[in-house]
Assembly symmetry: C2
Homo-oligomer: 342 residues x 2
DNA sequence: GGCGGCTGTGAGAGCGCTCCCAAAAGCATT
DNA sequence: AATGCTTTTGGGAGCGCTCTCACAGCCGCC
């Protein structure tokens, strides 16, 4: 097997110790913070490190510490083009930043099909990473269950399906509370016939937002709820549907901003004024969408990057043994952002 | 320090060997393919592996093999929202798939600012990964140089700036040849005043496409080239600019599809017929863009996912010592896709 | 039937590091 | 100056694996 690294082989801790005139143990202490080493010695070691360009061998270290300084981020792409989704981009960015702050690496596991499940589970149990972060996308997907069964701690982004694995720790925003606030706001505006353009019923976020809507409008006409799928097109379609079913509708709470944007287009096309005739509220506060709507979209804001960061913090606490799965989940607050559409 | 893995500690190769009644060496041989082990013994070992749920300890293995089975993918986000960019998504997907095929993990390094350079370089030299993949985004960025200086093999996506690091291996499509073909096609259509909506001069892909344009139109009026930046908006702006400068323009080669889409919009707004009055050709053949234009965009196709895969293959060959940096770069072919706009 | 040349197997070293434990050194007391 | 402490330091084991090397079988061959 040919040498893969150029130049001479990397210096070991042994070499550093020899050069500094100390034992390997002392050199190790200095490299790992230097607690309990007298200053002049520590300085000598640090100098040796510098001169030799010493970089600790990670494999050797984690062989004994059983820590890897790495966390897996599992991204499934069953249907969504995950990365193009600005939601995911933000969340992954938050994760990445927080991991960097914890001096931890991000190992990306991109799951393609169902055959991949076995590979993922082997990887998680294979001692490559200390923990994992995953996203609960669809209620039908078996992947979350597979992941949760692994022997390393896992934190989910988004509330997983309730049921057997209720003990799975997750971070999610207060979808239900946010929806409630949005609908309550519409009520406070004096709106009487408030429709809901719902997201796909395979995703808990959509279900929770629908639940929030129902919390406020306990006995709303079922015809006021139209089933969409979080896309702009479905927003347009459901809005049209709603107008047909209930021409007297005077407000709409869309399950996300994209659907709200689709709805606004339809309303504009039909000459229905927003917010005068129909008030519209979205969910997510996605810059790219919100900035482009006309009128500017009133929506429920959630801190997506912050949720990513929280996922990491929670995982780190679990790794430190300071948090246990059952009690650890975090629900982040949402807030209504009032603009022009409602 | 509390236990981080649940349950009893993982079985070692020693345990497998004991259970199978063989030596550790033999067990190791079986786990690694089983060459040179008699069948009955091998079967016994495999059974022990199954019964114990043995998974090799990766750290221990790479401590001795000096292989990590992991490759870093370095993503800088100087200006671009990398992940939202469908180009990157495709390329990363290709990379991910090919890495999986090579049983290699993807470690994502997300570079934020310039202070991060040191961290990246330490990581690359820290014995975490066998090689790295990076993208040469902007000629001004120092990052590629930092990366190229590391002691592990690196393959770039996109031709890096020529100059000092000409020996850096990369994978890129034939930007220049593709541009040439596009412009030649416009010429063959009988077009006489062919403009170019150029991409940012800080990116080699844009420069190469411009060069291809110039290859064909050696002494074109400089006024026919307008400087954009790969965005849809810049496509619209440069198209307007071009129409002002040279109202007689009868064809346009845009540096990418997004710019072409912007250009089409402007042409439509002004009632200029495409392709009758002005023919338009793009570059990239991005589904999302191409599918949405009216008329359908004629463009230069490049296999982005394939480029991602090639990056991995090239890196793997370098890791095997079968390819050396200087001679290894790959230029993938492009092809004109004729639709309606030209 | 004994002997070279196989192939298959096991013993053991050692990858580079951390961490336990014992020894040494320092310090302040008596 | 001797004692009893605390802090620093070094020796050495061992994390789980691979890989070299020596040895044990086994074949056919003279």
């Amino acid at each position: 097997m040919p040498e893969q690294t150029t130049g001479s082989s990397r210096p070991t801790l042994e070499a550093v110790a020899a050069r500094a005139g100390v034992s390997r143990a002392t050199a190790s202490r200095v490299v790992n913070g230097g607690a309990g080493v007298r200053l002049p010695l520590a300085e000598k070691v640090r100098e040796a490190v510098r001169e030799l360009g010493y970089v600790p061998n990670h494999a050797a270290r984690s062989l004994v510490t059983r820590r890897h300084g790495a966390v897996a981020v599992i991204i499934a792409e069953p249907e969504f083009r995950i990365f193009s989704d600005p939601f995911f981009e933000k969340q992954v960015r938050g994760i990445s930043r927080e991991l960097t702050a914890h001096d931890t690496q991000l190992v990306l596991l991109w799951v393609e099909g169902h055959g991949d499940h076995e590979r993922i589970s082997r990887y998680l149990d294979g001692g490559h990473v200390d923990g994992a972060l995953a996203f609960s996308l669809h209620t039908a997907d078996r992947l979350p269950a597979v992941i949760a069964r692994s022997r390393i701690p896992v934190v989910f982004g988004g509330r997983p399906v309730s049921g057997a694995e209720s003990a799975v720790p997750f971070v999610d925003c207060d979808n239900r509370g946010g929806a409630r606030e949005a609908v309550q706001y519409l009520v406070s505006l004096g709106r009487r016939h408030i429709g809901h353009l719902a997201g796909p019923c395979t995703q808990t976020s959509a279900l929770d937002r629908l639940a929030g809507y129902r919390d406020v409008l306990v006995d709303a006409d079922p015809a006021l709820v139209c089933q969409g799928d979080f896309t702009r097109e479905s927003g347009a379609r459901t809005m049209a549907e709603l107008l047909e079913r209930r021409p007297d509708v005077d407000a709409v709470f869309a399950a996300n901003d994209l659907m709200a944007a689709g709805a606004l287009r339809v309303l504009r096309e039909r000459g229905i004024r927003v917010p005068e005739d129909v008030a519209v509220v979205g969910f997510d506060d996605m810059d790219a969408v919100v900035r482009a709507t006309e009128p500017a979209l009133t929506t429920v804001r959630q801190d997506i990057e912050g949720m990513g960061r929280l996922m990491v913090r929670l995982l780190m606490r679990m790794l430190d043994g300071a948090a246990d799965a059952a009690s650890a989940s975090v629900i982040t607050p949402t807030g209504l952002v009032r603009r022009e559409s409602a």
